[in-house]
Symmetry: C2
Subunit: 116 residues, 2 copies
DNA sequence: ATAAATCGTTTCGGAGCCGTATCATTTCAG
DNA sequence: CTGAAATGATACGGCTCCGAAACGATTTAT
């Protein structure tokens, strides 16, 4: 039981966070894209297209397209698996790491500002 | 300083929350839609199209379309302002209140499960 | 009364994402 | 060595959303 938070605080935190993301960025990531990004950055590699699709309960093209988009944004990158060249390994990037770090810091800051 | 949370916890919370929303719902709300919804439910009325557009730094048609979509979902409803019939007042619905409540509870539950 | 301003909606062409089905490449089994 | 299986990418038609511009309805100012 690490983090104690009340529903009204949780909702305000969620609001403030989304608000910042909508206001700052022109293009905001979808819930699916954020989930993919955070999965790659928080969970143990390796991450494959098939594995991510199964984990998120979506079809493979969804992952492929998300990798196209987030690859263009340089938040994630593809790497062919050398040991089985059918696989594509999804890996972090410097830019993506900075983005995720900024997101975590923003959330911490917003949580600190919450009223009792 | 109400809620203390570390960046790694914040990111995991964000991940888990988005993960649930992606897995459960077929159609997930965009960041913009969530922000509009929570603004209406958390901040003081009245909420107008123009006011919401200015607050979120988006164009008016974005709000109109979001109201179309979330109106079809019965999460929000439009009401003509009787005192100035040019205005549209954005109001809560029973279904929307339940949705928001469920969202807050889900976030509280996920926060509770976070590792130290 | 008429013109200007305000407000929300609609239209338009363009872009992104969806799921299904299919494809090329690579690996594995017989 | 050849055919089946596995993996990720692509083609397709459909749907939603986007910003800019134009529009109708209403209110306010002259």
């Amino acid at each position: 039981m690490a983090v104690e938070i009340r529903p009204s605080q949780a909702l305000k935190l969620l609001h403030d966070l989304n608000y910042e993301m909508v206001r700052d960025d022109d293009r905001d990531l979808s819930a699916r894209q954020i989930t993919i990004l955070l999965t790659v950055y928080l969970e143990q590699p390796p991450h494959t297209v098939r594995g991510l699709a199964a984990k998120l309960n979506v079809t493979k093209p969804v992952i492929t397209r998300a990798l196209d988009t987030m690859g263009r944004m340089e938040l994630l990158q593809r790497r062919r698996d050398p040991s089985d060249r059918r696989n594509v390994l999804v890996q972090r990037t410097v830019k993506g790491a900075l983005y995720v770090e900024r997101l975590g810091d923003l959330m911490v800051a917003k949580a600190k500002e919450l009223p009792l």
